[in-house]
Symmetry: C2
Subunit: 338 residues, 2 copies
Amino acid sequence: MPKRIGRYTIYLQNRPSITGNAAVVGKKEGEGPLSQEFDKIHDDEFLGKETFEKAESELVKDAVTRALSKADETPEDIDCCFSGDLLNQCIGSSFGLREFGMPFSGLYGACSTMALSLALSATLIDSGALESAVASTSSHFCSAERQYRNPLEYGGQRPPAAQWTVTGAGAAVLKNSVPDNPRVNAVIFGKIRDLGITDTNNMGAAMAPAAAETISAFLNDTHTVPSDFDLILTGDLGKVGSDILKELLIKENNIDISKVHNDCGTMIYDLDTQDVHSGGSGCGCSASVLCSYIINKLRKKELKRVLFVGTGALLSPTSSLQGESVPGIAHGVLLTSD
Amino acid sequence: MPKRIGRYTIYLQNRPSITGNAAVVGKKEGEGPLSQEFDKIHDDEFLGKETFEKAESELVKDAVTRALSKADETPEDIDCCFSGDLLNQCIGSSFGLREFGMPFSGLYGACSTMALSLALSATLIDSGALESAVASTSSHFCSAERQYRNPLEYGGQRPPAAQWTVTGAGAAVLKNSVPDNPRVNAVIFGKIRDLGITDTNNMGAAMAPAAAETISAFLNDTHTVPSDFDLILTGDLGKVGSDILKELLIKENNIDISKVHNDCGTMIYDLDTQDVHSGGSGCGCSASVLCSYIINKLRKKELKRVLFVGTGALLSPTSSLQGESVPGIAHGVLLTSD
């Protein structure tokens, strides 16, 4: 049963298990440092479909199918699927998942959605409300560019703080207490934090304050320090946002995470050679890093204790055109190897 | 603690209480049959803001502020707020709620979002993961028209099966077991159901199959029949969709709900005089009917047992332009007077 610790953290006493995980990505991601970790690299950015949006739905479908298969489950076994994405009205998820026949809860947490879907799945399983769940999310560079910025054909210049939307999807299957699987130990739902950043090419700066708040609240609630974790993994602040996060935590909370911090946005690409500026972003960024490399390392016990903090920028093209700043949010999930 | 009954239904053994509820609407809704029920009728469609989108955020803020005040709670007391809307990237909710400082989980369930937010809030409270929560959602006729259809100035013709997006927001505050308040007894998460409807002016037809599936699954899981309820309330199928729902349930499941059924989309407007064709729609439709008239009637014990089934159409303008059909979803919540 879930039990609250401190003001914001929810400890999951049954520690739900991740019994299957999969990540599928596009060509550029497949050329990055995590190349060997992904379940499938799709060289065709259309995945055989007619549009980028349909291709994104196909990524979701593929990731969920592979995660279910690795968990030895069928869609009929699953009590609820939690999923969302960046596309307007979350069509990546709803069209990608409609054929499975699983009960479905749509989420919107921008790039924090993988953490949000994991947090909700795990908490509801821990409580007995669900026996099994799937958490998934996706993004696609080409569908995101034309929705948020410009059609690809426009060939817009990207400023240095910009991030590159990952083409990829990740999925995790959760069940209650299955030994020898990574587990979700605790979750924390973040607050919206808006410090007035209006530069939509600097999402890292907009999201870093929310990440700082969630990390410091979690450490405070659980009476832990950064060295208690093998890894504090943000996703996806990129290089610019990661630097701001570390600075903010030292300045505001006297917490130094530099020895254990990494960021999905800086891990998925080679920042020196892949022309992605500050790093990767998009719902599929943390999803594909977490649901491959990280959960696999927990599975092999090469990582023991990971605080995963998904970060999202809750803007829309409309809000930015109307002069609004960019609110950030960060949800946290504590994962252990067993 | 939550306990599963049958295949899909989750019974909430502590039966969380709705300690505060509020609904705020626009001028047209304030001229409809439920006029006396709303907490505030905003005659200015801009609510003093510069844009329709900012006005929608203001509706969310107003509804949540009023619900909190009626529950005698402050935002600091609330463990998590669950909210979503129809605007791209759910900016109605995130901008409307950003100043409250409550932990926030964004949802996307199209017009089913009020049911989804109530279901998640209540289940997490029942389990002890949260002590208090807010469930809210909104829509705005003017922001929806220009996002989904055409700018208002275009003056497009509306076919007979079309529904009118409600300008309104509803919010409910939930806590564990506070006597003399309406309670959430059980919830059910719906499946995506897509029978291939491609007419985006006939959302009722697209959503009715999902509503039929959720209602029959709930009755089956709980071994109940329609006469066990004072009201089976769908939101928002409109007149066209309600007729299809009743027909489908008789044909496929031999279930006749006609004596106890009503629909938020047909209740909020006078269909004969208000020129809304098939009725109301939008996340704010079921939210403003439920969080005023229905919960107030439960509070006064004039209704004792209401199965509320929120219905959503998981389309986007892009998916429809790409020739996709319209997937529907329906989430259910069993409310009782005490």
